[in-house]
């Protein structure tokens, strides 16, 4: 029962996040919305796994959590540098 309520809340938030991703207005709003959508997906898979008595779904949630983060950073890097292989060396500090 409570799992269903949590699932409903997560679904509503996912819809709101998708709306934000469609509306934008900037590309960073969209990336943020997609990242948030990914976090919600992880929670959704976890809750659904419990709702249907299949906690093995948590493995998928775990992998999705990692892919979501790497995907966000990859898209940001692609946006910013135009390619994925670029290595940023400007942050290296000489006092360390």
């Amino acid at each position: 029962m409570m799992f269903a309520a949590a699932m409903l809340a997560i679904l509503i938030t996912m819809a709101l996040t998708l709306a934000r991703a469609v509306l934008g207005p900037t590309v960073y709003d969209r990336i943020m919305a997609v990242n948030l959508f990914g976090t919600k997906t992880v929670l959704f898979i976890a809750v659904v796994g419990f709702l249907f008595g299949r906690p093995e779904f948590l493995d998928i949630a775990l992998v999705y959590a990692l892919i979501n983060f790497i995907g966000t950073v990859a898209v940001l890097k692609l946006m910013h540098y135009g390619e994925l292989g670029w290595v940023d060396t400007s942050w290296e500090r000489d006092d360390l």
């Binding site: 493995d59 775990l62 500090r93 360390l96």
Partner: protein, 161 residues
């Protein structure tokens, strides 16, 4: 070498916790994947003391509890601001001076600032953290440096020279 050993141990423990299948074939596949990860990490030259920061562990628990309290407090604060709308907002974007000593300490502080709702660290450079906050009052408590002092206390004394 010590760091490689630390990384391997962490991976082995993590694999054993997640797997749940302890038969010969699966175990050897697990050993193979761990060896592959360690080899890639060494090849990428990312294995150093920051990969497995074991020297931090004992004091971290207390810090996490304190941080969890801060997160709960500021979540309620931000929730109130979200529900009240623009009237409760006064976004600010300023530099906060820090004196952490090591890069690890700066990273923990910046991550803690971002993890706390309402404050977001944007850039760390030359002993300042550039912070965006949802209301300028939140900057005041950051400037007081309670969090920075706690993070600094996590470092072993010998490292602060």
């Amino acid at each position: 070498m010590k760091s490689t050993l630390g990384l391997t141990t962490t991976l082995v423990i993590f694999w054993l916790l997640l797997s749940g299948h302890y038969t010969g074939l699966i175990l050897s596949l697990g050993a193979l994947s761990i060896a592959l990860v360690v080899w890639i990490a060494r090849r990428m030259d990312v294995v150093d003391h920051e990969v497995a920061p074991v020297h931090f562990t004992p004091k971290l628990i207390g810090y996490w509890l304190w941080l969890a309290g801060e997160i709960i407090k500021s979540t309620f604060d931000v929730t109130r601001r979200v529900l009240r709308g623009r009237g409760a907002l006064h976004p600010a974007y300023e530099d906060v001076p820090i004196d952490q000593g090591t890069a690890m300490s700066e990273t923990i502080l910046a991550n803690s600032i971002t993890l706390t709702p309402g404050t977001l660290s944007v850039d760390v450079r030359n002993d300042v953290i550039r912070v965006h906050t949802v209301h300028k009052d939140l900057l005041v408590s950051l400037r007081e440096g309670g969090m920075a002092r706690r993070v600094k206390a996590l470092e072993p004394k010998a490292k602060q020279s």
